[in-house]
Subunit: 233 residues, 6 copies
């Protein structure tokens, strides 16, 4: 199986979304009628994290002792092929079954994506080797940490639609994470979210500046769209 | 996509496994080195339930508002085709994402499998319409009940390997459930589990009869394999 | 403080809603744009339960040892006054803080509402004396049971908007419960839910009958509104 | 190690406590300043259960693969010796580590205590073989059920103080359980709880009869101690 | 509705309580018979936090789609009026329904209280915009973070008794928080807690100094009240 | 009762294990057939923690109000005696019943072990005084923090086998903890784990260096034992 090339967003769109919080992006998506985009139970390994990029997906299934799964199988697996296809700025999104599962991601595997300059990893499961992984620049979002590899998982496919943190992720969707959590922006909506999100951030900044200048809260909030044309401060 | 025909176990093997508890089958599988077979968090909708049969699998992914999913899509979906392929005695095994998810299974859909004389349904999610579903003869094992269809799921594939209750299920594996829960018997091991399981049930019955006849617990337990040849009572 | 008289729904509307499942009522409300109506974590004390009626609400706050709260205070409390105002068919809805709380409801207090022929009680907390309460005809929905009265709660108001199972309940809203759980029907929507719900139940019954007569699942489901005029069977 | 003989309560005290609910016994103990007596997370395997009797305790520790633990070790273990010492009416109380643990109790082991006419078993862990155990007359209270024996435990001592459901249980303490849960009555308080509890049950019965005869709730409740001398109905 | 002015504690009392840990204040309150004062499930957004001040309370109820709630409603709401009444050193205490709820508090709303020099906010729900909120000096204690505003809440009252983290908070009670969590000091007890708490901190400091000087643990602990007059070191 | 002297590992073994992560030690133990060694639900109070040393164990049972337990009892308790026996480098391992329990460990008690230069404390329960405890050099692993001492526990034995985080710990076993969690190395296996673990760390380092030098992931991983003799880079 060959990993298909995902279509990556224009650099400007990606950069613009980096200026937006997940909270703002969620509000914008909601105004477009898209609400089922928040990953539940997935948090950054370290605080003060920001991640934006197109999704490269990976799908794991549990191992069972009657199925042989060798080091050689792992070497030929979808996970390995995906690492080769990873481009700078990609976000690796792994469905490994949720908080109860270890999913074959420890220090070396994660480093394998970090050296490709991936923008981050979202792992719907627990990782191990967190003392080392914390030292990487690449942000990792996951359900938790533990020292063991049980229950074990095996990578069965890359470049497919997956469930992660309870939401659908398609290859190429924009995945963004910060300290509030992780959300998915459908790729067709990325440009619109970038544009509307920057506007929203701008008027919320006016709100905060109004407050800092002594205006009452109900004057400053909720912010008004008209401020884009007539700044209130 | 056409649903492939699964290979079903010989009728005698299926009948023999019905005489065995999930606890005994688990012990036998463990003695064969196979341990990752217990579904977690999945329980019978009603007590005093027993279910055994080959797995017909179904795989759901979460819906997202930017993806249109119509009644017509559902009519053409893998779930509908699987219902057509279901034979008496089959067990429908659905990966719908775990306890947080509704998976498109309410009274009518479940009835669709019950009228085919399926042996049962294992649903890794929550169902709705439980007042009606409880009236069906077909046993249903699931993570819980609720009146709503949110968060929504869509069936994307049948007849594939799935994760259910945290374990791997392949089409045709024997799935068995009782009040203790649900376990998977790899299809290649079904005959062996039937044979060893019946033996185990036999010597455990001796244990209980010894106790009832007044023998001390450490005489009666653990049971001994030699009792198969020399009954202790 | 006097308990205001709630406006109760026409008898026919109440009877019609009794013919509808919570699942169907939820679907109808959803089609009207009303979704935040499912109580989470609240289940019937006994299976095979059905309850429909207008809400009489009660609001508890935690007790603190520096506040004196005597038997006399309880006798004069909102809970006692509400019991006097309860009419046959009313549903008592109590915000007592969720699963961590005991809320001053044991066998005698609950009997106080049962003798008034209340249609049921929804209790967002744990009750005690469940062995006795199970013997009552009046259904009770709650978060769980325990033998103690800690942490303690005190009734502070009746006949007010409350939060129960995570949703808003206004006095007079229709509250319905069955084995799937409990939902709230805003009083202004009760008539519409009764009408649309009966229609929905009717076409779903056609779906099930079609299946029982051997029609394929994707013919029988989803049911079609046109069947109301042209029955498919 | 020999199991010491516990001091059992007078037959009359035991019978009297059977007339009292756990809720009432808890209230009486609370009035004596004793509050830390409710087991958390332990429920009856079947509804409509009542159990009262003196505690025979058992203490388990987790097994580790570097420690050999053979069938012979089990035969010589404290669990086996305790089964021999069990007298009709005793309640077997097992600390097996809480809901995450299997504790070496399945159908045969539990039958070993049932044939001794034990009044019940309280198991701070999960059991297996629940389909069979449900058929026994002896009530079993536990944290849950599962088909497996993992994680495994080994009995290390009987007749010692144990932690069960989060509370201290000393050999000979009276343990009582019903559908509300399980509580411990310190043995020195058993007689007092029997006496005060019967009084409490008596006046609560007056409360319910007053309600049934049409008296207002705040007349009937809270019940008054003076009713013992001057029945209100 | 006008927000009533709460009675604030003398500056010295407030300053003294700042020298005391929540653990010590809890012990002192317990010695006065007041135990139901610990908020459960509410933690500081950032470690190394300390907060003390009089409570300004806010009460939210869930929104339901049949109730219109506009930006204008929010502008006129109790939350906005409370922001105007907030004085430097006040602690904003919000009952928004617990960990499952978003409660209308994101970066701008929280900034609205921060610019008033509030001493902190205790939020019984989840907040959003945590990346920004973490940059504020004002400490925030809450149940968690997420990017969305669902399920939505609406502020219905300020300046009322509320339930927060499972305990009663009255306007003007002293609320204190540190890394151990949040507790409530009934306003009438504030002076006594300040005095006794400082004494307790003093003798515990002797305990630690004795240990550091090489004294055995059972000499140094528990600390003795007599050390206030005769320092042991 | 006198605390027996535990046998401590050779200094070199202890130092070698400090160079190994818990993840690697777990893998090595697994290859020796020893798997039940990971403590569940126990995490470091502060990130970037590393702890290795022989276990000194302590066993707590819940207090009950009918049992008197005075300051004098505590002074004579096993906890106090264990503090006296603690040697530099020891790890104090306390079974206090899991996340629901406070176990008699606050700032002074913990300081009592810290001044003895203990290598760390593993506490199967919640501690208090975390603001102070965080300032200590000695790492503390526990289930959480809170300001109160309820539910209360009492130390009943030291120097015994205990259950901690769900696994067996014998006095003298090597306990190691880092940000992934805590594991137990049976004392008889310590030397072997040190040796094999260092080898494993060495070849994993080659894996990461290969990746950093641009080699593909499936070349670098899984690492090969033969690299010990023939370094791949």
């Amino acid at each position: 199986m060959k990993i298909m090339k995902i279509k990556r967003p224009p650099k400007r769109v990606n950069e613009d979304i980096k200026e937006i919080s997940t909270a703002t992006a969620w509000s914008v998506l909601g105004s477009l009628g898209i609400k089922s985009v928040i990953m539940r139970g997935i948090f950054p390994l370290k605080p003060n994290t920001k991640m934006v990029g197109p999704a490269q997906t990976l799908y794991y299934l549990p191992l069972r002792e009657d199925k042989e799964y060798t080091a050689e199988d792992l070497r030929k697996s979808a996970a390995m092929r995906l690492a080769e296809e990873t481009k700078p700025g990609d976000v690796i999104v792994v469905d490994s079954g949720g908080p109860g599962y270890y999913g074959g991601m420890g220090d070396v595997m994660i480093t394998g994506f970090a050296v490709k300059k991936a923008a981050g990893m979202v792992f719907d499961g627990v990782i191990r080797d967190s003392p080392y992984v914390r030292t990487l620049e690449m942000p990792v979002f996951c359900c938790g940490v533990q020292p063991s590899t049980t229950p074990r998982n095996m990578p069965v496919a890359a470049d497919v639609m997956v469930r992660c943190g309870g939401v659908l992720v398609c290859p190429g969707d924009i995945v963004m994470g910060d300290d509030d959590g992780v959300i998915v922006i459908p790729k067709e909506k990325a440009e619109q979210v970038a544009e509307l999100g920057l506007e929203r951030e701008k008027i919320e900044k006016y709100s905060r500046r109004l407050l800092e200048s002594g205006k009452p809260l109900n004057y400053a909030y909720p912010p008004k769209r008209e401020w884009l044309d007539n700044p209130p401060i």
